[in-house]
Structure formats: structure tokens, C-alpha cells
């Protein structure tokens, strides 16, 4: 069965995000006053799995083994058919 995982990877709470700071600054130059601004990476991945549970486990393993770096990242996984 084909599943579709939506994986969002962002920095852990309290981690410095220099890219977000630069973007926030640029928004300010355009007149947009912003408070908190965070950047995240979104992955949409289709793959085969026997069932929902296996699909979730596979998506999580992808995060643990490559997509996220546990030193700085946290991730969220949503799996649907």
C-alpha cells in the first residue's frame, strides 16, 4: 500500500536560528513588524508499507537516520494513505 508522509523538521526550542533572524530583519526592511519567526523544512514522501503502523515507523526512521539531526532538530510526522 502506498502511504504519504508529511515530515516537518525544525530546530529545537531555544536553538539559535540565524536564517530566521535574517528573514525577520528583511521583513522589517519591507515594513512588516514581526515577533517570533521560525523556519522549518517540509518533506512530502510517498513510499510503500504494509500498513499504517509500518508506514509511521518507516517515516520516523527516515527522520532518525537522515532527515533530522538529533543534536539540533525536532520533527513531526504525519502519515496518510
Amino acid at each position: 500500500m502506498i502511504f504519504r508522509a508529511t515530515i516537518t523538521i525544525g530546530l529545537k526550542e531555544g536553538m539559535l536560528d540565524p536564517e530566521a533572524a535574517a528573514i525577520r530583519h528583511a521583513l522589517g526592511n519591507l515594513g512588516f513588524v514581526t515577533g517570533d519567526l521560525r523556519t522549518k523544512k517540509l518533506f512530502i514522501i510517498r513510499f510503500e508499507a504494509a500498513d499504517q503502523q509500518e508506514a509511521e515507523e518507516k517515516a520516523k526512521a527516515m527522520c532518525e537516520r537522515l532527515l533530522a539531526n538529533p543534536v539540533i532538530h525536532r520533527y513531526e510526522v504525519e502519515v496518510g494513505a
Binding site: P18, E19, R65, L66, N69, V71, I72
Partner: protein
């Protein structure tokens, strides 16, 4: 004695390291394409700087998951010398050869200039020819070089003497001003492996290995490795 310099697609300091090891230090050195794997019994393996896989996903992340890294991890676990420079340090951290990670500079721009490093320990093959607290000049060239590790990991690194180099000013003071990329505790060189036989550092010692380059301070890293290998050979 033979060194290997591993080339990934996007490595661009491989030949600089080859020159420093073979022409400057006089040791045999092979360039090893990553797909060929580590097929010889090398005395030291260097992962050079560059932009492997275009820094896609994260600097070093994809190269760290290539099969050649299995051979490099085995070499390191057996006490063999592994030196990761710049992108090589990012690859080394991503593959777990040293704890922590190197990520986007606090000011997200590429910084390429000579900086001062303080030698934090001489109890490693890479730093044995320096004096503790010595200030050396070696260039950096990176955008993702800010060292990050958990507070527990930093405590352990300090306690075990696994910090090799910190950014400092010309007098050896480790200050926020002397920290070009916002690295935790100014750390930019970390020792790993069972016998501190792995060094991952962001600065480029190969670019400071001859006076004509403006500094020869980095040469002692290679010479220290060579001395260690010679001593191990004469004991065997």
C-alpha cells in the same frame, strides 16, 4: 606509511591536503574516490573540505551516509587516525565520529579569513607538537561551522580533554569577540575515537602548512600524526 584523502563529489580541498601531506610533509598519500571505498590498510584517513553533495539537506549529512564511511568508522574504532577538515568535520560529526554538530554561523554568511586558535590539549596525535595554550594562525572558510552540543556533552568534552582548539584573540583570550561563528564555548576542534584518534576541525591546517601561504602553523597537525604513526610502528 600511507595517508588517504577521501574525495566526494563536491570535495574541493582534497588536492590541497594531498600537497600538504605528500609534498610538504613527505609522506605517501592516495586520493580515494568515495565509491571505491577504503581498500588498503591506511595509517591515516583525511576527509577534506568542500561542499559534498552541494551541502544539500545539511552540510555533510549526505556524505556521512555513504558506504565509504563504514570503512572510516571501522578505522577510527580500531584507533586509526581520522582527520576531518571543514566539510570533513561536518561529515565526521554527522556520522558520529565526534559528538555534537556544526551548523549555520551565528551571522549567516560565509567567513573566509585567517583566525587565531588556542591549543587546548597536547594529549592527542594531532596536537602533540604544539604547546598547551599556544596560539596558532590558521584560516577558516565556512558558513556552517558553528559548533553545537548539549550542555552535558560540552561538560564531558571538557572533562575528558576532547576540546582540541578554541577560537581566541591574538593573545590567546577566548572571548565572544574572537568567536567568528558563534560556536559553543568557542570550540572549533573536537577529538573523538577511543584514543583521541579522530579530530574534526573547521579551520584548514592544509592552507597554513607553508610560510609562503602566510602561516605554517597548521603543518604540526600533520607532523604530529606522522610522528604518532612512526612511534606506533617502532613499537610494533
Amino acid at each position: 606509511m600511507r595517508f588517504a584523502v577521501v574525495q566526494f563529489g563536491g570535495s574541493n580541498c582534497d588536492r590541497d591536503v594531498l600537497h600538504a601531506v605528500s609534498d610538504v610533509c613527505g609522506v605517501d598519500c592516495d586520493l580515494v574516490w568515495y565509491k571505491d571505498g577504503i581498500t588498503k590498510d591506511y595509517d591515516a584517513i583525511v576527509i577534506p573540505g568542500g561542499f559534498s553533495y552541494g551541502d544539500y539537506l545539511r552540510a555533510g549529512a549526505i556524505a556521512a551516509r555513504t558506504p565509504v564511511m563504514e570503512g572510516i568508522r571501522r578505522h577510527a574504532a580500531a584507533g586509526g587516525l581520522v582527520l576531518g577538515i571543514c566539510n570533513g568535520a561536518q561529515i565526521g560529526a554527522e556520522s558520529g565520529l565526534v559528538p555534537g554538530t556544526f551548523t549555520t554561523n551565528a551571522t549567516p554568511k560565509f567567513i573566509c579569513r585567517p583566525i587565531c586558535l588556542r591549543v587546548e590539549t597536547t594529549a592527542s596525535p594531532f596536537t602533540r607538537l604544539y604547546k598547551e595554550g599556544e596560539v596558532i594562525r590558521v584560516p577558516i572558510a565556512h558558513k556552517e561551522g558553528r559548533y553545537v552540543a548539549s550542555p552535558e556533552e560540552l561538560t564531558r568534552l571538557n572533562a575528558e580533554g576532547r576540546v582540541a582548539f578554541r577560537f581566541c584573540d591574538a593573545d590567546g583570550n577566548v572571548t565572544p569577540v574572537a568567536n567568528p561563528n558563534g560556536a559553543a564555548e568557542n570550540i572549533t576542534g573536537v577529538l573523538g575515537g577511543p584514543a583521541k584518534n579522530v579530530l574534526c576541525l573547521m579551520p584548514h591546517p592544509e592552507r597554513a602548512s607553508e610560510e609562503v601561504l602566510g602561516s605554517a602553523d597548521g603543518k604540526k597537525i600533520f607532523l604530529g600524526m606522522i610522528r604518532g604513526i612512526e612511534e606506533a610502528g617502532s613499537r610494533a
